[in-house]
């Protein structure tokens, strides 16, 4: 019986997380277009519903009802498989993020707001993300179109290169927290008012910066959106995709943005930590989502303001700047950890009695 309750609770959790993430996806697209409109001195979509609030619904109906064109010389099976790989892998990593602290519900009892908690959660996220590369590469290859192929190749090269910087940027946090379990890493970041313990502020500012840049490249967003550079490649790897299959790539791009934003929030911005979380645990969920939305806004802001890199600049930046910087950060963090500086600092931040001894 306990097992059944457990499974039911997990299923409800998965459905709820799926619903929240999909709603966020729909309204991120709308927000993106409105904010870009604001940045570029125009209105953006505001016709469907009040302030354009029903625009995502209209977009969905449009994508569902459009003709689905399959290129005759495409490799059929792989062509159909690719969008599913991309979307599935993007959705899979959402189960490991702690959305909030332990909350208490009547009947069910106390449970932590995380769907799956296990020893290697961080590695699981990295692994699932790395499998997602196949979707894009195979989409480019199977379309039998030179622009798609170029887009797919560029994308895989870019994602392999920046995965390295991304992973190395995270090593500092792992060294310092001593665990790969995301829930414990968040718990370690509580401090005065739930703010002073954040990794990004005190102990890993460099790692945070490296992760943020690499994450933008990893999600193929501006200024690293070379795989779909319109001026050179039409639409890159998804040139030949239409209707809902294009829609799935679109969903996956935004889901990947959520994933890296959630990881950044969890590892660097204290996850659900914030003022008064210990008194009112439900606040944690709102802090978490608020921080994720901050990162999403950052993405849109960057898209509105920055030009695109050239491909050789992209590679130079990743391999000759970010990777060495991340290695320096690891050596530096390891030295401080070895000298016991972090223990001292975190003791002070958490209890306020560190200076006294």
């Amino acid at each position: 019986m306990a097992d059944l309750t457990y499974v039911a609770l997990k299923l409800v959790g998965i459905l709820f997380a799926f619903f929240v993430v999909m709603t966020m996806f729909a309204y991120t697209t709308l927000t993106e277009r409105r904010v870009l409109g604001f940045i570029q001195g125009r209105l953006g979509p505001n016709r469907v519903g009040p302030q354009g609030l029903l625009q995502p619904v209209a977009d969905l109906v449009k994508l569902m009802t459009k003709e689905d064109i399959v290129p005759q010389k495409s490799t059929r099976f792989v062509y159909f498989l690719a969008p599913f790989i991309v979307t599935t892998t993007a959705l899979m990593s959402i189960i490991v993020y702690p959305f909030g602290p332990e909350v208490h519900l009547p009947i069910i009892g106390t449970f932590p707001m995380v769907i799956a908690r296990f020893d290697v959660a961080l590695l699981y996220v990295l692994g699932v993300t790395s499998v997602g590369v196949y979707g894009i590469a195979l989409a480019g290859w199977s379309s039998n179109n030179k622009y798609s192929l170029m887009g797919g190749l560029r994308s895989s090269a870019q994602m392999i290169s920046y995965e390295l910087a991304l992973g190395l940027g995270l090593v500092g946090v792992i060294l310092q927290s001593g665990t790969l379990d995301l829930y414990s890493i968040v718990e370690q970041q509580s401090g005065h008012l739930g703010i002073t313990g954040w990794n990004a502020i005190w102990v890993q500012p460099l790692g945070f910066l490296i992760y943020l840049i690499a994450a933008i490249a990893e999600t193929n967003r501006v200024p690293f959106d070379l795989p779909e550079a319109e001026t050179e490649l039409v639409a890159g790897f998804h040139t030949e995709y239409s209707a809902m299959k294009f829609g799935l790539f679109f969903v996956a791009e935004y889901l990947n943005m959520f994933t890296v934003s959630m990881l950044a929030t969890t590892l660097f911005l204290g996850g659900w930590n914030g003022p008064f979380v210990h008194q009112v645990p439900w606040l944690g969920v709102f802090y978490f989502l608020g921080k994720v939305i901050f990162f999403l806004f950052l993405y849109i802001w960057l898209r509105g303001t920055l030009p695109r890199f050239r491909f050789d600049q992209l590679m130079d930046f990743g391999w000759k700047f970010l990777v060495p910087l991340a290695i320096i950060n690891i050596v530096f963090t390891a030295t401080l950890q070895w000298a016991g500086v972090f223990d001292y600092v975190s003791k002070f931040l958490k209890t306020g009695t560190g200076w006294g001894g």
Partner: protein, 241 residues
């Protein structure tokens, strides 16, 4: 298939499931069947890209098996290193070279058949040996969840008991990187003063001076030196605009 990984990992942290032998057996049959099916597909496919994709399937099934064996760290590393890094490079190369479907050439490797049969016999012998020893070995101590597969125990082992093999492996990998770079640069360096601008094309003066420019043909070369020789720009390299 990918969702199965998720199911496997999700149950891994839930120790009650570990007691459930019927469920473990079911998962083992599922993932082992997937691994064997994909492995057969690797050798049976004629298209190299399909073979590579099947191999990815093998790696992911193996990762699932590691999860059911309570080794989540190995499972994650299996997915990241093999499925996520090595196979991406393989797929990348296949796509870049656009390898065509292989023609059926049944006679070419016929002479290797005795060796293959011998190796298969050795493999079956090894399997029988292992099964024999597993059956005669003492049962694992009852009670207390093993922490063998956990990240902390693996890290502790690598940096204390097995430090020397670990360091030797890293030196080996470093040698492989240096070797790869040396091989890649073997084609010879460009003439002095020349730098390659990505996207730029190099033409010889004679080619550009010709009126019948439509007659340009692509010539395959294997090194920069050879290309420079063909274009007649050895020593002094000129760039046409």
């Amino acid at each position: 298939m990918l969702l199965c990984v998720f199911c496997g990992l999700d149950s891994s942290h839930h120790s009650e499931h570990r007691e459930n032998n019927a469920m473990l057996a079911l998962l083992f049959i599922l993932f082992a069947g997937m691994a064997v099916g994909c492995a057969i597909s690797v050798v049976a496919q004629r298209n190299p890209l399909y073979s590579a994709m099947s191999l990815i399937g093998v790696f992911i099934s193996l990762a699932c098996l590691y999860v059911t064996l309570a080794a989540p760290f190995i499972a994650a590393v299996q997915v990241i290193v093999y499925a996520g890094a090595i196979m991406v490079l393989v797929v990348f190369v296949i796509m870049l070279l656009n390898v065509e479907e292989e023609e059926r050439q049944p006679l070419r490797l016929r002479s290797l058949a005795p060796i293959a049969i011998g190796l298969a016999a050795v493999l079956f012998g090894e399997t029988a040996f292992i099964i024999f020893f597993v059956q005669t070995s003492p049962a694992t101590p009852a009670g207390g969840v093993s922490d063998v597969g956990l990240t902390s125990s693996i890290g502790g082992g690598l940096f204390t008991t097995y430090l020397l093999p670990f360091e030797i492996t890293s030196i080996l990998l470093l040698m492989a990187v240096v070797g790869a770079m040396t091989l890649a640069r073997r084609g010879g360096l460009l003439p002095a003063g020349a730098g390659v601008v990505p996207g730029d094309q190099v033409f010889s003066k004679e080619l550009l001076d010709r009126k019948d420019i439509g007659d340009l043909r692509a010539v395959e070369t294997h090194s920069t030196d050879e290309a420079a020789h063909l274009l007649g720009v050895e020593g002094e390299r000129e760039e046409g605009e």
